[in-house]
Subunit: 406 residues, 2 copies
């Protein structure tokens, strides 16, 4: 068969790489495999019964649910979010400041369409969410990495970095991307002082900020912090939220709150991407939220995941600390970030799979894929404490075998 497809692939396609997560996911179905690899909510915390209460709407509002929806999203759900996010955003946003997206992943692509020209520099935490790297890279972005510590992005490094990129490299810095709470994968949360400082820096240098916050409502310890958005009176920050971690990834609903010019421009692009998101999942999600179920359910999710986080730390202390490993204990979110010390984490990931436990090497999350070879992301939300203990024990076994010269 003569095949023209590969020959005709775009340059972007030729550059694209399947996600390493995707490759790991393929073997997760193997019997006995314990997965700490994904970022999936626990099935037992899905509010199946409460969500299913809305099923009657498939009948009673069937003709609305089965029809096209508006590109901006189901208006009552946008209104709900405008109110519900007010405590975090510092004010109630107006309807033309809220756009619903097909998962918050689509927001990243829409941001790319609206903002990124080939060669533009996006400043990212390093490590960061791999599918944000991919989404922006598709649009031709290049990246500048800022390191993190326990208080999140070290924003004091930004001025010198921005000036270097502009003046020494002659490149255009477009935006700063941050996963502000319980960062994926590194677990850090940006301090309030740094949030305020970041807003000032963006304003001084004429940059915009994409504040990505899929995990923000899943906090185990301490109080919620005001968003970067709430400090930004100049409107240079847009805030991205998601139902994936607090209700269901299956509804495929994220949202963006922010300046109406960028929201409108994203809506124009969304027309070409998928016309609209599904009214079925938007109406069902609104029905769930309208009844107050979302707020009532969050504590259950948080308790479930806190227990698992703590269980994983106990197992880490028992099995991995003696092997010289350390980690960041997150105050929320889905992941531990493991420092594998002298151990090559790419090799560890391969060996762990042989022991039937899946983790992701840090390399997948680094702007520079050569980096991250001594760290790994370990998910705790999707396994029971018993499975967590067994999985960490297997991981320790894999480490021990690597330490014994073959």
């Amino acid at each position: 068969m003569s095949n023209n497809w590969k020959k005709h692939f775009s340059e972007t396609a030729k550059r694209s790489r399947p996600s390493p997560v995707r490759e790991v996911l393929k073997v997760l179905g193997q019997p006995g495999m314990i997965s700490f690899a994904g970022g999936m909510p626990a099935p037992e915390v899905f509010p199946v019964e409460q969500f299913a209460e809305g099923a009657e709407l498939l009948r009673t509002q069937g003709t609305t649910l089965l029809q096209y929806g508006t590109t901006e999203g189901y208006t009552p759900l946008r209104e709900f979010l405008a109110k519900w996010t007010a405590p975090r955003l510092g004010r109630e946003t107006s309807l033309d400041e809220v756009l619903l997206t097909t998962g918050s992943q689509q927001l990243l692509d829409l941001f790319g369409w609206a903002m990124i020209d080939p060669g533009d520099v996006i400043i990212m935490e390093d490590p960061t969410y791999m599918a944000a790297i991919n989404a922006f890279a598709n649009h031709g972005a290049s990246f500048a990495a800022v390191k993190m510590d326990e208080d999140g992005m070290v924003v004091s490094h930004l001025p010198a970095l921005i000036e270097h990129i502009r003046n020494e490299e002659g490149r255009k810095v477009k935006a700063i991307y941050t996963i502000v709470n319980f960062q994926n994968p590194a677990g850090a949360t940006m301090s309030v002082e740094r949030r305020e400082e970041l807003v000032k820096i963006a304003d001084r240098y004429g940059l915009v900020i994409l504040e990505d916050d899929p995990y923000g409502y899943v906090r185990f310890d301490g109080n919620h912090l005001p968003s970067i958005f709430s400090f930004d009176k100049a409107g240079n920050t847009i805030y991205a939220g998601s139902f994936s971690k607090i209700l269901s990834p299956g509804v495929r609903i994220g949202w963006v709150s922010g300046d109406k010019d960028i929201v409108r421009q994203m809506a124009i692009f969304k027309q070409a991407l998928d016309l609209c998101s599904s009214p079925i999942t938007q109406v069902l999600t609104y029905e769930y939220c309208r009844k107050g179920y979302l707020d009532a359910h969050l504590p259950k999710i948080i308790d479930n995941y806190r227990t698992k986080r703590d269980a994983m730390e106990v197992s880490f202390k028992k099995h991995l600390a003696p092997l010289g490993m350390s980690w960041v204990k997150p105050k929320g979110g889905f992941f531990f970030w493991l420092d594998t010390g002298a151990i090559d984490s790419n090799e560890l990931t391969r060996r762990a799979l042989e022991k039937k436990v899946a983790i992701l090497s840090g390399a997948a999350f680094c702007v520079n894929p050569e980096a991250g070879g001594h760290s790994a992301r370990v998910n705790f939300t999707h396994s029971s404490p018993e499975v967590i203990e067994e999985g960490v024990a297997r991981l320790a076994q894999a480490v021990q075998e690597m330490k014994i010269p073959a």
Copy 2:
């Protein structure tokens, strides 16, 4: 408020235009407005009860429906489509030849990602689906237009056109895009002879074909024709289908059948676009299909729309023929394509809105937006025969007033 957003918009954003449909849609909510503007299914043909039967799955399979799905789509639905499309495609496709997309609109964007480099030429029928023009233009495509007659794209014009673009203009032709049945907006269906000829031309010139067929199963007269895909033994054609016109646009499910290399590449891009489509709508759609409801329901849709098409033609003959207008009577699909003769269709569209009837001027559908000024797309699926008669009468009134010198 100092605002950096517009200042920082990408070049693609600066080029982008909101769809004229979008602007018309804004006034459709006005009381008394009759809309022939959209391409929406009729609410009364939605199989609300049968689709809602699956609602119990929100409980019984809740943890699957609320979780992330695979990027390629829900496997049972892909298997169903591989079988269901076999008569049209000439063979049963394998699982790795089928990808589900978030509406068939997403397929157009995925095609752009996988295939289009800036400046690549896509050969399109002119007029064509406006959101395909937008989706490809976002990726930097340029366009070459081929005219249509009652047998669809005049494929005999292709060799000279392709050679001209290559040899005279020095540009790269990538693909041929065709809406093969009941073309949107022009209504024509490509003859079998031309389908076969098109495959030969694509093979001879090393091009690929995107066969877009959202309306193909909505045929009022005559027999279904074999797809272009079915003639293409070299695998240069991919076939795009959609549930939007045959079941529901609200499920946001389209699919593409074709070569596994391009399907795999599109799946890699889909990860960055929205990770996966909603398992909720995919599982509900599969449940509906599994029970045989889709095949049983199609005749109802077809009867409903045939009646409306015929009603619209009666009204056209009564009101518009005497005013010197003509039209293409489609054998299926959603639209009449009206030749407005000497009348400027952009002006007619504006005047018609004042009479509370909405149509879309041909300009919206033309690769060259200066063209299409004497044609209009008129939808018949969404209004009752009575409303159709009233709307066409109003349209005629608008025409008559344009003919009277002010």
